[in-house]
């Protein structure tokens, strides 16, 4: 008789999702926020603790705090109350979550993520739940539930893909945001969210770069852009009376490959002679407040309008960043507006009135550039990007909170000649998240990020194999920070770049010196180089 292997039953059915127990393992969780960061933001319950600890040192009346917090938010947000009430558990959202697809953990089904909260809502805030308890789908609020919330609400990137498929438009991002707000009330936050927030609050940007450091970084980029082009490129800082305040995510001037995108912006602004300034005070477009609470979002976002008012600019131009644009597009005007001290944005080059930004007075750089290209005001040599075979990753927020789909594509198709879309059900409004958004993009959480990023990487792999794609372009700072790691693991050989980096490569500037290499210092493809250098750089 052959050795009948001892068949250990491997099948691990979760059985009942109402069991709140979760196991915190290093590598797939984010660490707790340091007490000093809570202190800097005057948040409750600063202390030393870690999610792996048995005792989370919650305040003695934590349960009352959470339930009161829920009650308050149910009154203040129709989205919250409605989404607690109307889910029919049809399951349409189940296989739409990248974390569910990558981790195969049934509790990552968006519906279950929401049920973790709904079960508490039903138990404490509905008649049937109070009368019938678990039969009505209610659960007791215990410390284990808090731990489970922490685990799963910091395992959601608020990408809203599930919401696209929900017959009632239930938005898991709203539920995750509420969950995180409630956790914040009892001091259960992650450092990767709160440290950038605390830095941003104090110095103006997530990285905590102080004004002189900011100037150094910007000057360095300006010098490099000057060197590449042979032109004199300077970047005004805190200059009053400029027409445009340019706001970008801080990663653009301190991270790679973001930095090349910054070079692209600077070259563009120089070429069109844009009258602009950047600000050392509003030196962050991103907003990690979005990942902790609405209040924090407002506190951090206030700087942008305040600075625009102080500098007496006419309108605001925003760089490439996903969640920054969620805030600028859907929250800023409501929270910190009205922007009546600004003017309706008009492109100084083409005269285009940006009607869609009539009230907020903030224009996305891709809108601005696409308009320039459409009017033929830029001289572009797409052959300078011939060494790239590009695809485009729709970043979640520009795709599902704005619908900024064609503007970046318009730019890409004008600045590079090799462009291939990923499969239809992985782009545009159905785009797969990078798996690292909403404050999950830290190294200690890498394994979870690799799981969550797998569906995206899988589509990249497909176009790499099919078309030889070697560049993933995107317009999100978190993408640029985290996708290189993800692709190095899943699809080695594919780099990540911002759309304006490719623009910077292709942009033929008036009086520029002969360029032989792209912004990364990599030589142009041979024929592109000869053609590029031969072309007389001149335009009206």
């Amino acid at each position: 008789m052959p050795e009948t292997l001892v068949q250990i039953e491997q099948k691990a059915p979760r059985g009942d999702w109402r069991d709140p127990h979760v196991e915190f393992r290093k590598g797939s969780i984010c660490y707790s926020a340091a007490a000093k960061n809570l202190g800097a933001l005057s948040l409750p319950n600063p202390r030393a603790w870690q999610p792996m600890d048995a005792d989370w040192k919650l305040p003695p009346d934590w349960k009352r705090i959470v339930l009161d917090g829920m009650k308050e938010r149910l009154k203040k947000y129709r989205s919250f109350r409605l989404f607690m009430d109307i889910c029919v558990r049809c399951g349409a959202c189940a296989d739409k979550c990248h974390f569910y697809l990558g981790s195969a953990d049934p509790k990552n089904m968006p519906v279950v993520r929401a049920e973790l909260m709904r079960s508490i809502y039903r138990r404490y805030f509905t008649l049937t739940g109070r009368l019938f308890g678990s039969l009505a789908g209610g659960r007791e609020l215990t410390e284990d539930v808090i731990k489970e919330w922490f685990y799963y609400f910091y395992q959601c990137t608020e990408c809203r893909r599930c919401s696209v498929f929900c017959p009632y438009g239930i938005d898991t991002a709203e539920i995750t945001m509420m969950g995180r707000e409630l956790l914040n009330l009892i001091g259960c936050n992650t450092n990767w969210v709160l440290e950038p927030a605390a830095n941003c609050f104090r110095t103006g940007n997530h990285l905590g770069i102080q004004p002189h450091g900011f100037k150094d970084s910007i000057d360095f980029a300006a010098e490099e852009a000057s060197e590449i082009t042979g032109l004199d490129i300077e970047v005004p800082i805190n200059r009053k009376g400029a027409e445009v305040l340019f706001v970008m995510p801080s990663a653009d001037y301190f991270g790679t490959p973001h930095y090349y995108t910054l070079l692209g912006y600077l070259m563009l602004f120089r070429e069109i002679g844009l009258d602009y300034t950047v600000s050392a005070y509003a030196s962050e477009g991103g907003n990690f407040g979005l990942f902790s609470s609405h209040e924090m979002m407002k506190r951090l976002n206030a700087k942008i309008y305040d600075e625009a008012r102080r500098l007496r600019v006419k309108w605001i131009l925003g760089g490439e960043c996903g969640h920054m644009w969620r805030v600028l597009h859907q929250y800023m005007d409501t929270m910190n507006g009205p922007a009546d001290f600004l003017e309706v944005p008009v492109s100084p080059i083409t005269g285009t009135v940006f009607e869609n930004a009539r009230s907020t007075r903030a224009v996305h750089i891709c809108e601005f550039t696409a308009d320039l290209i459409h009017h033929g005001t830029l001289k572009l040599d797409p052959r300078r990007n011939d060494h790239w075979i590009a695809t485009y990753h729709d970043s979640c927020n520009p795709a599902r909170a704005m619908g900024l789909l064609e503007e970046p594509r318009t730019i890409l198709k004008s600045v590079c000649r090799n462009f291939h879309e990923m499969p239809e059900n992985t782009i545009r409004e159905q785009t797969f998240c990078c798996g690292s958004g909403a404050g999950l993009g830290t190294d200690e959480n890498l394994e979870m990020r690799l799981r969550g990023g797998f569906p995206r990487a899988n589509a990249v792999k497909y176009v790499k194999e099919k078309h030889g794609v070697n560049l993933l372009t995107c317009i999100c700072a978190i993408d640029k920070a985290t996708l290189p790691t993800l692709l190095e693991y899943w699809v080695p050989g594919v780099e990540v770049a911002g759309v304006h980096e490719l623009l910077g490569n292709a942009l033929v500037m008036t009086g520029e010196k002969e360029r032989v290499a792209d912004l990364r210092g990599e030589l142009f493809a041979p024929e592109a180089h000869s053609v590029g250098s031969a072309s007389e750089a001149s335009h009206a």
């Binding site: 296989d95 990558g102 953990d105 440290e195 905590g208 200690e444 190095e488």
Partner: protein, 148 residues
Amino acid sequence: MSVSGAVSEIVAERWVERTLAAYPAEILPFLSGEHDRFRNPVGQVIQESLTTLARELLGAMDNRATAPAIDALVRMRAVQDFSPSAALRFIFDLRPVIAEVCGEVTPQLESRIDELALMAFDRYLACREQIASLREKELRVRALSPAR
């Protein structure tokens, strides 16, 4: 040894079944039933890799086919919530599957399975090391940040 493609298909099918059984029951029908490779990347990687491996195991055992198949599968299992033994268990599931389909596991197949197992060990370790080095790399970048 010449075993027809039909046998390798049956082996692959049962092997996939066993491998999928390690995932929670709730997601099983989706993993095995959804054939869009973009909707169901995990299921498709398992399906494709195991089909290739079964074909090679009972066929030419060409390293150019087995290596990428092992890599794709192990790469994925190395980041999922498995212990190392559970992550690589699928290789050892081959023995009962082949015994079931072919009646016995020939010494040649035994040694081929061992070979696959060793390859998988190598890949698994390489993946875990890569994860560690990627983490380290991210940490280094973070350390450059002036805030710290």
